[in-house]
Symmetry: D2
Amino acid sequence: MTTTEAGAGTPSTATTPGPTDGAAVVTDHDRGVHGYHQQKDEHLKRLRRIEGQIRGLQRMVDEDVYCIDILTQVSASTKALQSFALQLLEEHLRHCVADAARQGGSEIDAKVEEATKAIGRLLRT
Amino acid sequence: MTTTEAGAGTPSTATTPGPTDGAAVVTDHDRGVHGYHQQKDEHLKRLRRIEGQIRGLQRMVDEDVYCIDILTQVSASTKALQSFALQLLEEHLRHCVADAARQGGSEIDAKVEEATKAIGRLLRT
Amino acid sequence: MTTTEAGAGTPSTATTPGPTDGAAVVTDHDRGVHGYHQQKDEHLKRLRRIEGQIRGLQRMVDEDVYCIDILTQVSASTKALQSFALQLLEEHLRHCVADAARQGGSEIDAKVEEATKAIGRLLRT
Amino acid sequence: MTTTEAGAGTPSTATTPGPTDGAAVVTDHDRGVHGYHQQKDEHLKRLRRIEGQIRGLQRMVDEDVYCIDILTQVSASTKALQSFALQLLEEHLRHCVADAARQGGSEIDAKVEEATKAIGRLLRT
């Protein structure tokens, strides 16, 4: 079903030849390209912004800013990290997990278990 | 209470009488049966245990138990609720989301978006 | 400083005689009454509402309600529990922790450490 | 950078030269020094480590590391941030909030409300 999802932020996957031939569903994942690669630039921008927030926290501690104001900034950074995680997870479900379902077999069970564990780790922080 | 708990985790729901006509993949979901129904008893048992914990909290408040001990019990109840949510989510991904992927079309996008939003709500609590 | 904070929802602490005599600061805590006792009725009402939500969850599972709708209700219950915990914590800080600070000595360190650990447990759920 | 880090955790700030004149309790806070300043170096070290984790995340995204492994690293970073927040909060309670309690008056109520709101923000992320 998914055929050519390439492009969008990928410098190199354009020329992958074969995969649209046979009956088998060939996915980005088979080609070693993960779901999130299409939003790579956006992800990197987000992470750089979070890095800036963490450096801001260092400045606040260094300048003896009031504890509560630092805590507010920590909450903002944690929220930004969770929001990044959520977007990554959405793409993972949309691509890797859905691909596993399409391919049939028991792979989907492993993928779902793996994703659930990752969500559990996010919840526990 | 639950009567017809058809073929747990089978990708080919071959023997179900009515809906197996055409070539289309027919899923539990089409039959109005959600992923979690197979663990229904286990879910109900978990929820009754959580209900017991909440009643325990009422007793603690009523008997003027030390605040910190009440907070510890609140953490345990919250953890139990999160753990219930995680199991429900796993079954949802394994059944409803995977089914949508198998059926093809744009349904999978809606399902993934919906699941991600639910995970986001869990994270934010 | 705080002298008679009794009353408010307590059936029995009214007649505690002695402690207002000397120079020492005598607190509710010394009298075995914790910070939250004044909002006891409100706490019990909140907890009964949460208990109702948990029973609602059982009904939803029993009636095969859609997974995502159940997850939404779990989020609401978790939020309600966290909100209860937060109120309890506020009263604990206002009474038990503040009392320990007023009394001087090393008690305050133990109280703060204990409260911080409780907050850590809440965060980790 | 910080030079005068007076008596860590001493309830009697007796030997600090200037402010010990009258009967009033004079605190670090009055002197514009917040609770966390004594662990400043440790805080900065923690934050630099978190900054390193965030840069690690950027590398992972850039090198197309598997989504789940990135999510695991996000969880670790979030946990590290929460742990930093918790330590800051502990010092805030031990110093700023306890000082407000010792000084008497209504300041303690404002301080406790402010701290509770900060804890609420941490919980909600």
